[in-house]
């Protein structure tokens, strides 16, 4: 019997906002413990939550970007449970009237090779709701300490339908969410800082069976790769169990990334009774069309749309767009150059996707610190296009200098004397010499071997001390022979 997996993800994403969701205290990461607190965050007697509009803006924007419906009103509920990281021993969340309904995430699966676009799919969402994050428990040998700095950070929970079937799809789903959030400026989604966290519900069933198999919940997925690996491991494990005729029991498992395996945390306990009820401290929120329209206008062109446009408008190959587009800043930078000269898109794309990224990575620099500007990069491609210097000189000699000094291409060429000190007539003379000195390849060419003439390029380049334009040389040699 063949089996298939069904996967749903619950993704928590912290919304980037100056202050916390229900208090005016600054939100942040990496501070001394219990410094980002006030009476509200500490749950002192008498403290009251007040909604942060930036958090609402963030989640509404996320909902619009992920194709959700935004109902006219949403409300706040208390989820009651005792845990030391929760200052009030209830979480303020949204039980039955979330701020975002439905929606989907467009994902791309890996193509046959890295240079080929893979299949695109839409993964359905159930809802997105807003809630407060909790603090962090730190366990020591004899005791545990709580740090409430993270408590009351704005957190949204993106809940997918059980609509995925492999670790790869889950990986693509999280990648797409992450890119969308970063594009919209909603979150940096840094999983190491806990800005994005995912839990997976995984079940396996015989292909053809309608009902879902018994699901297990998989936790401790600390990276996007961890999600993929954990899910793949768990699918194999469950399939193996079912094939042996064993029954999957409802339980919570955890991914152990060090050992590369899943481990059982706890078997199903009695279902938690969270005693949800509407939070009497917060008013329901009404979201009108104007508010939505204002936020919709702030959403930039999203990654998949941008990629499709780059391919159509600039004729760029998939492989280059796949490098440029996931990074909004990089692709905007690139576009600042290419929109001035769409015909040079390929040359510009290659320089950005290969040379620029390599230099940045070697210098451990962010694009914002880069001394080359879109305009100066375009200048470099243009001097090559005009035949002032050959491409290899541009890439090897001029580009690294520009990267270091911030000079224009012309300035580097001038300073280093890279401009050829001969004219086309002189190149023609060298070509004729090369033809005369190499009769064999010339004969081969005349016999029909097109490639034979490549043998003449080297001698001419040598005569020009590498400064001749190879395209020009090729052209001249052909003219002279034909």
């Amino acid at each position: 019997m063949e089996y298939e997996a069904v996967i749903g993800l619950e993704v928590h994403v912290q919304i980037k906002a100056e202050s916390k969701i229900f208090s005016r205290v600054r939100a942040g990461y990496g501070h001394e413990p219990n410094k980002l607190v006030d009476p509200v965050v500490m749950g002192l007697p008498g403290a009251l939550p007040v909604m942060n509009k930036a958090a609402l803006d963030g989640i509404i924007k996320a909902g619009l970007a992920l194709n959700c419906t935004i109902p006219e009103t949403c409300k706040w509920d208390r989820k009651n449970y005792f845990y030391p990281d929760s200052p009030n021993n209830y979480q303020i969340t949204q039980y039955d009237q979330p701020i975002c309904d439905g929606g989907f995430v467009e994902i791309e699966l890996p193509g046959e090779t890295r240079g080929v676009m893979g299949e695109h799919k839409k993964i359905k969402l159930t809802r997105i709701h807003l809630e407060n994050d909790v603090g962090k428990l730190n366990h020591f040998a004899d005791d545990s300490l709580v740090d409430y700095n993270r408590a009351f950070t704005s957190l949204m929970e993106i809940v997918s339908e059980p609509d995925m079937h492999s670790g790869e799809e889950a990986f693509a789903f999280l990648t797409a969410i992450r890119q969308t959030m970063i594009y919209c400026g909603i979150s940096d989604c840094d999983m190491e800082k806990g800005q994005m966290r995912a839990d997976a519900n995984i079940s396996v069933r015989p292909i053809g069976q309608k009902e879902l198999g018994q699901k297990i919940e998989l936790k401790n997925l600390n990276s996007i790769t961890g999600v993929k690996n954990g899910i793949e491991y768990e699918i194999k494990r469950q399939t193996r169990e079912l094939k042996k005729g064993n029954v999957i029991k409802q339980a919570t498992w955890r991914w152990n990334a060090d050992l590369g395996q899943t481990e059982m945390m706890r078997e199903k306990e009695d279902a938690h009774d969270y005693r949800y009820f509407p939070d009497p401290d917060l008013m329901p929120v009404r979201i009108d069309e104007d508010w939505k329209a204002k936020l919709r206008a702030e959403i930039p062109e999203l990654p998949w749309d941008k990629q499709r446009r780059f391919m159509e408008e600039y004729g760029l190959p998939y492989s280059i767009t796949a490098v440029l587009v996931p990074d909004r800043v990089l692709s905007d930078w690139f576009e600042a150059a290419v929109k001035q000269a769409p015909k040079l898109a390929q040359a510009l794309g290659n320089l950005v996707a290969n040379d620029l990224l390599r230099e940045l990575s070697e210098a451990d620099m962010a694009l914002e610190e880069c001394k080359i500007t879109p305009d100066t990069l375009l200048g470099l491609v243009q001097v090559v296009e005009k035949g002032v210097i050959p491409k290899n000189v541009a890439n090897k000699d001029v580009f690294p200098e520009m990267f270091k000094s911030g000079e224009t291409a012309e300035q580097v060429i001038e300073r280093k004397g890279l401009k050829p000190d001969f004219d086309e007539g002189q190149v023609k003379v060298w070509c004729q010499e090369a033809i005369d000195e190499n009769p064999k390849p010339v004969q081969n060419y005349r016999d029909g071997n097109e490639k034979a003439l490549n043998a003449l390029l080297g001698p001419v380049m040598k005569k020009s001390k590498g400064k001749a334009n190879p395209q020009l040389v090729n052209k001249l040699i052909r003219e002279l022979i034909d």
Partner: protein, 490 residues
């Protein structure tokens, strides 16, 4: 004059202070002396801080000397219920749970009093976390009724009412979730006002039931109630349930509306049950008085009255079970000395078992039950629907009348211990007051006579945000009687 200084009203004292015939330090000293003289009998205070009060008084005198008075409350000692946060002062809620807790911040109403120069005086006893009608649920002490020391002062703001009645403060702040200002005010013969829900910020009031709680004044005169309400009212960004509405000048309003012929309603359901209660006679006399002034008296119906107590005890306990979850033994509360260190749940269980009193536990359990899955629809949801009907009853009644007159409580103050073992009969002592909290409307209690030597209160219920009318109606009655000048013999 000076021996009776502690019984003067805030408005009189304010004039004396303004004319420099009295200093805030002398006034505060007189209040401290009075407090000490009668505190053994009354027991209104959980704690007080003489040095702090005198320092505030000195600052007030300095402002007046520099002609920089902050208004009519500048230099007036105001007693504070021990469930309102005052920076640097204990905030116990009369619970062992918070016995050692000192608030690091000010409630909004406290901040307002400070910016108006009031001298914040003492921490007044209450039923633990404001749950009760007698202050017998305080973990520390039972306050006595200044009119009869064997009787309870009412609750939960029993300390606030007793202190105001005994002259241990010029006026006091209380909180009212189901009658906790009005019922003790009626038992202690003072004026108590529960504002419209949303009129006064709840920020810094230790929450009992968030959708019902309101902070309000307890005073010896209607004018002082107007003065203190004025001082604490207003929209607050830190409380999303506080209402954005223009604040009328309450003191001016009561003078301006003198002689108005009000249309006053008598809810027949209230009078049917109250017919033979001991508190009834003075209330009926008060109604006759309004009639004699030319007010129209009309019978009205509040048909869902019977559901009020049940509705209240579902909504209030549900919210309380969640609000009090923060008192867990982890951060600032009482923590049990011994617990199973390997089990965080045991810290909760032991600490809460030791820290909370019987009544608080009863309500947490009740509230937990009504919110439980499978019971939510039958209890909490149903109660919210009943609450809507109760509010609509009032809306309909107020189409016909300006305000309603009722007894505040079914009986005058009862003896200590009399109902302590019978929570249900204790709950029923709130029967006339809780509907106002469920409906969110303002209500006040006003001394209107005595029964067996114990004060009886007249309750006036009004339209939302029409506290000025309530005060005016009360002022009219007060002007024709001398109850405000009658004080308990201590």
């Amino acid at each position: 004059m000076s021996e009776e200084l502690h019984y003067k009203s805030a408005s009189e004292l304010s004039e004396l202070l303004e004319k420099k015939e009295l200093s805030s330090v002398d006034l505060t000293k007189a209040i401290i002396a009075r407090t000490k003289a009668v505190e053994d009998k009354v027991g209104a205070f959980n704690s007080y801080d003489e040095a702090d009060a005198l320092a505030q008084a000195e600052a007030s005198d300095a402002r007046r000397a520099a002609s920089a008075s902050l208004g009519p409350l500048d230099g007036i000692p105001v007693g504070i219920k021990d469930n309102l946060a005052v920076n640097g002062q204990p905030l116990t809620c009369s619970s062992k749970m918070l016995e050692k807790f000192v608030s690091p911040y000010d409630a909004t109403c406290i901040e307002k009093l400070k910016t108006q120069g009031a001298v914040l005086w003492g921490r007044l006893n209450l039923d633990e976390f404001a749950m009760g009608s007698s202050t017998e649920n305080s973990a520390f002490k039972t306050t006595s009724n200044p009119w009869n020391l064997d009787c309870i002062p009412g609750g939960s703001s029993g300390g606030s009412a007793a202190a105001a009645a005994a002259g241990q403060a010029v006026m006091t702040l209380g909180s009212d979730t189901g009658g906790s200002i009005r019922q003790p005010a009626s038992h202690c013969g003072v004026v108590g006002l529960k504002p419209t829900y949303g009129r006064v910020s709840r920020y810094g009031l230790a929450a009992f039931a968030s959708s019902l709680d309101q902070v309000g004044p307890l005073t010896r005169s209607v004018k002082d109630a107007a003065l203190l309400l004025q001082a604490i009212s207003g929209h607050d960004e830190r409380d999303s349930t506080s209402y954005k509405i223009a604040e009328p000048d309450f003191v001016a309003a009561i003078e301006k509306q003198r002689g108005h012929k009000w249309t006053l309603g008598l809810p027949k359901e209230y009078f049917a049950t109250a017919a033979n209660t001991p508190a009834m006679e003075p209330v009926l006399k008060a109604i006759e008085y309004y009639k004699s002034l030319g007010c129209e008296i009309k019978e009205v119906s509040l048909p869902h009255t019977d559901y009020a107590v049940a509705t209240y005890y579902i909504v209030a306990t549900a919210e309380a079970s969640s609000n009090l979850a923060r008192y867990d033994g982890i951060r600032y509360t009482h923590r049990a000395e011994t617990f199973d260190a390997k089990d965080s749940v045991d810290i909760y269980c032991q600490s809460r078992a030791e820290g909370f009193g019987e009544e608080v536990k009863r309500r947490i359990i009740l509230g937990t039950y009504v919110l439980s899955s499978g019971y939510y629809d039958a209890y909490y949801l149903k109660a919210q629907k009943a609450r809507t009907l109760i509010r609509q009853d009032f809306e309909n009644a107020f189409k016909e009348v300006d305000a309603l007159l009722t007894p505040t409580s079914p009986s005058p103050a009862f003896k200590k211990g009399e109902k302590a073992s019978d929570p249900l009969s204790m709950y029923l002592s709130d029967i006339y007051t809780i509907s106002a909290n469920l409906a969110g409307i303002p209500g006040m209690s006003l001394p209107c006579g005595y029964s067996d030597g114990l004060p009886v209160g007249l309750q006036i219920l009004g339209k939302p945000f029409k506290e000025d009318e309530l005060l005016s109606i009360a002022y009219e009655f007060e002007a024709g009687h001398d109850f405000k000048d009658q004080h308990p013999q201590l």
